[in-house]
Amino acid sequence: MATAERALSVSDAMSLAKSVLESVRITVVGEVSGCTVKPGYKAVYFSLKDDCALMPCLMWRDTYDACEAELRDGQLVEVTGSFTAYAPKGRLQFQVRSIRVAGEGMLRLQVAALARRLEVGGLMSAARKREIPAFPRRIGLVTSPRGKAIHDVIRTLRRRYPVAEVVVAGVQVEGEGAVAEIVCGLETLAGEPGVDVVILGRGGGSYEDLMPFNAEEVARAIVASPMPVVTGIGHEPDTCIADMVADLRASTPTAAAEAVSPDRTDVDRRLNALRRLLGRALAHLVSDGAGRFAALARRPVFREASYLLAARLQTVDVLADGLARALPVQLRRQRETVERARDGLTRVGSRLNGPFELQLSRDRERAVAAGRAVAESAERRMGLAAARLDDLSPLAILGRGYAVCYEGDGAVVRSAEAVARGDRVSVRLAEGRLGCLVEDIEKEA
């Protein structure tokens, strides 16, 4: 390039830079700082900054007035324009052509960035969310003591659940100091005994008005709260950081009040239902008991046992009774019968005995005589028979002087040859026996 060969004057160099810079139109987001708006000045001066850099800006007065913005330090703005160089001072400046003050987009970007950071930190995790108690004892409320929100909440709670006490920390909810007051309100309620849930609420407003509820300090105070926090912020469908980290997000203060309280008519209905159930449980208990009892009683073992036993016991009673009454009568009656029979028998017997006795004695005498005759004849015949028997007996022969000789083995010795000298023989006499030793044998010729 030709220009590279030749040295430029400072003015030319700055002029060149200026033209190059101004040819690029850009939009920048940053926080306003060092804002100077002075009536006599032709321009408004301020800087835009972020964490690491600072960018001096100027805005021509007529442009500034036309955009109806009101710049404040700390504000986030979105500016469109181009860099330029201010040659007399050698300064780089951004010349603002248009400005969007508190541009929601930027705020949202900023809020989104914080939200991401907090999310990464686990502050929004579903696991961290606590359950809202169904019947809180005391309900904490952090909101402005002025305005509609506090009355909306109190009216709603009075209508729905007057049982709970409302404990209010009235704080500034917008503008400078709001963040610190909201944090203080949450911390104060954290130290209150019996507060079971806290509502953090405010009425509707611009996105910028709601910025305290996007503050990290408030988010951390909500997370640090020992009891669940329910947000009811604004009427818009906007979600702020406080909503994201809260245990429950309601769209309005009224909705938040509804979320922390049971509906009185629901409670009434529930109590009535419980009353009915309790009554029914008792009725069921009684009827069930009675039913079981009846069923048991119907069981054969019980029914018949008792029935039969009763019947039998009664029978036994009746019989015992009858027996007790019948026995003596019967006995007496039978004794009388026996006595009568005996008397009759005695009388009849004596009458019968007379003729029979005579006959009997005669028969007896005849029988004795006949018997005697029979006996005598039998005796005689027996004597004869005995005499004949005597004649036949070997003993009777021995009686006439004979003897019988027996060998040692009991055989009768009929011949002298049957024995030898020295043999022992036995001799049977009519009376007694002799043991003999054979000394001499004579054989008959």
Binding site: R137, V166, V168, L278, A281
Partner: protein, 88 residues
């Protein structure tokens, strides 16, 4: 769970209601003996009365820990009427 022998008046509304519901559940199972059932039933009736009385007598109390409650026009005109209503 609140102690079951607590005086119902000392229980919070929620605790009394929870115990009452537990009693009804237990009774409905039919697993309790007769005497136990009757004892639970009696306790249930006492709790029921306590809950209903709490609800009937409740007048919402508002305590300002920080700041002064600024009555708005709507609420200021409403307050006396509601207080009178609550007292009847």
């Amino acid at each position: 769970m609140a102690p079951e022998n607590a005086t119902p008046g000392d229980l919070t509304f929620g605790a009394a209601l929870a115990e009452l519901e537990e009693i009804v559940r237990a009774l409905e199972t039919g697993q309790l003996g007769l005497e136990e059932s009757l004892a639970r039933y009696e306790r249930g009736v006492v709790l029921l009365r306590a809950c209903q009385a709490k609800l009937a007598d409740a007048q919402q109390k508002v305590t300002m820990l920080i700041g002064e409650l600024e009555e708005d026009a709507e609420s200021a005109s409403e307050e006396p009427a509601e207080r009178a209503e609550g007292a009847t």
